[in-house]
Amino acid sequence: MRSTDPLLEVSGLRSAYGRIEALHGVSLQVDAGEIVALVGGNGAGKTTLLRTISGVQPMSGGGLSFAGRDISRASPHARVAAGIAQVPEGRQIFAPLAIEDNLRLGAYLRKDAEIAADLARVYDLFPVLKERRKNPAGGLSGGQQQMLAIGRALMSRPKLLLLDEPSMGLAPVLVDQVFEIITRLNREDGVTVFLVEQNAFAALSIATRGYVIETGEIAMEGKGSDLLADDRVREAYLGV
């Protein structure tokens, strides 16, 4: 892989639900070490894009490459093995399973000896998970479930972390906490982050770069701070 290659390259990506196309040729890239935010309103296609990148949603056209390799035909588990971990929309934790079992499932494809160390790191990031590690995950609050979902994704040791609306349904103070953790993961653990949000302000504030998606197409792109200052973005997504 040449060092100039982006970690994730999405080019002209299309995806459809039956005959209705939800993504009409989306192109974007995420470089190693970045936090990239994708913002957009209800039904713009954010979730569809993330699901297509992780492979649980079929693509109908375009290209997808990760770390210089074409992954457009790879199965979801092969993409996890390659280093992509998705925190799905609405968390989707395994409610009846113990918290620690949820985390161990994140490491399902790993055989190495450092799983225990990574588990300790997740507990270090989210101490509340450690306190209740034997309890069923369904008993956690919304914010704690979001932390568990992030922790589970981290257990696969991803190069790229895909986050689908981590702020959804959280109180403002928790939103700040979650975004602070994301920044820490990026800085301290070197995890590249691709973040999808309706909460454009929070997302663009921590992002190196950002994209705006509207009805299945990229409408704008730029530095996080530039987009935050842009009049059109402010009007449409920040309510100013």
Partner: protein, 315 residues
């Protein structure tokens, strides 16, 4: 040490072993030993089906088909090819596993009712094949099964079969417990809860489902082979739809996702009809009533239901 012994994967086979040994003293006659052996055999098939239904959340209304394959393997292969009955049982288990592997790939893509109907059709296909190929299987009348001999010793008598089938059950429960506690077991429970989340965690969902489908088919075939050897006779009704439904009922009645529950479910449906014969014409009505009451009172099945009643009271 105590903690390891108390872990479910050791505790459950231990409890069953104690039960098998204990009952052998308590049961007064060969008739009871025979009924108990039938319970152990059904329980073995039910444990396998419970792995599929209770842990992985996939239904099969065709498992009697696999049961029939095991049963007819020990009937047909020794008769036609003078194969030793144990080798025949092994061949039956392999054939059931292989067939499950082949049909499981397309069928397990289906979900819920669609999966139920597809497995139903598959089971009926096997039952009809067994009934129709009379030259090989004796058709609807069934066929005799050669007696099992081990190193020149003829296996016979209700007590002998009680111990053999009880041993099979303990081993089956032990293997199932280990599977459930393994990463594969965790993956099964995960995909039961959310397939999408399981996929993005890196679980090959199709493969995990296929694995447990094959394992459950092998359990059913081994149970079928054991029943054929115990009875010394096979009939096609053990491969048919009603028997599939009976196995599913045992799983649900005993408790989804509970290995001890599988034994309880099998015990109820094997023992109760024997007990209720005194009700003559009303036998089935009373049985149905009891099943309904159990499900209403213990919603999650006998073992999980009783467990939550007990722990709930203690709190």
């Amino acid at each position: 040490m105590l903690k390891t012994v108390l872990a479910p994967r050791f505790a459950v086979p231990l409890v069953l072993a104690v039960l098998v040994v204990g009952l052998s003293f308590a049961l007064p006659s060969n008739f009871y030993l025979r009924v108990a052996a039938l319970v152990w055999i059904s329980a073995l098939a039910v444990i396998g089906l419970n792995l599929l239904m209770g842990y992985a959340g996939q239904v099969s209304l065709g498992h009697a088909g696999f049961f029939g394959i095991g049963a007819y393997a020990v009937a047909v292969l020794p008769a036609q090819f003078s194969l030793h009955p144990l080798l025949a049982a092994l061949a039956g288990a392999l054939a059931a596993g292989l067939l499950a592997y082949v049909v499981g790939r397309p069928i397990l893509r289906l979900k819920g009712h669609y999966l139920a109907v597809a497995t139903l059709g598959f089971g009926m296909l096997i039952a009809m094949t067994i009934s129709n190929e009379a030259w090989l299987t004796g058709g609807p009348d069934g066929m005799p099964v050669e007696r099992l001999t081990l190193l020149g010793w003829r296996v016979r008598g209700a007590d002998t079969w009680y111990w053999i089938t009880g041993g099979l059950l303990v081993i089956g429960a032990w293997i199932a417990g280990n599977l459930v506690a393994s990463p594969t077991g965790r993956a099964l429970r995960a995909l039961h809860d959310s397939e999408v989340a399981a996929r993005v965690a890196g679980i090959d969902v199709a493969r995990a489902k296929l694995t447990v489908f094959v394992i459950s088919a092998v359990y059913a075939a081994v149970a079928g082979a054991a029943l054929a050897l115990v009875n010394g006779f096979v009939t096609p009704d053990k491969a048919n739809f009603m028997h599939s439904i009976e196995l599913v009922t045992m799983v649900v009645l005993g408790g989804m996702g509970s290995i001890l529950g599988s034994v309880a479910g099998a015990a109820i449906l094997v023992v109760l009809p024997q007990v209720l014969t005194s009700f003559h014409d009303y036998e089935h009505m009373v049985l149905g009533l009891i099943m309904m009451v159990i499900m209403i009172v213990l919603r999650s099945g006998i073992v999980p239901g009783l467990a939550s009643l007990l722990t709930g009271r203690r709190k």
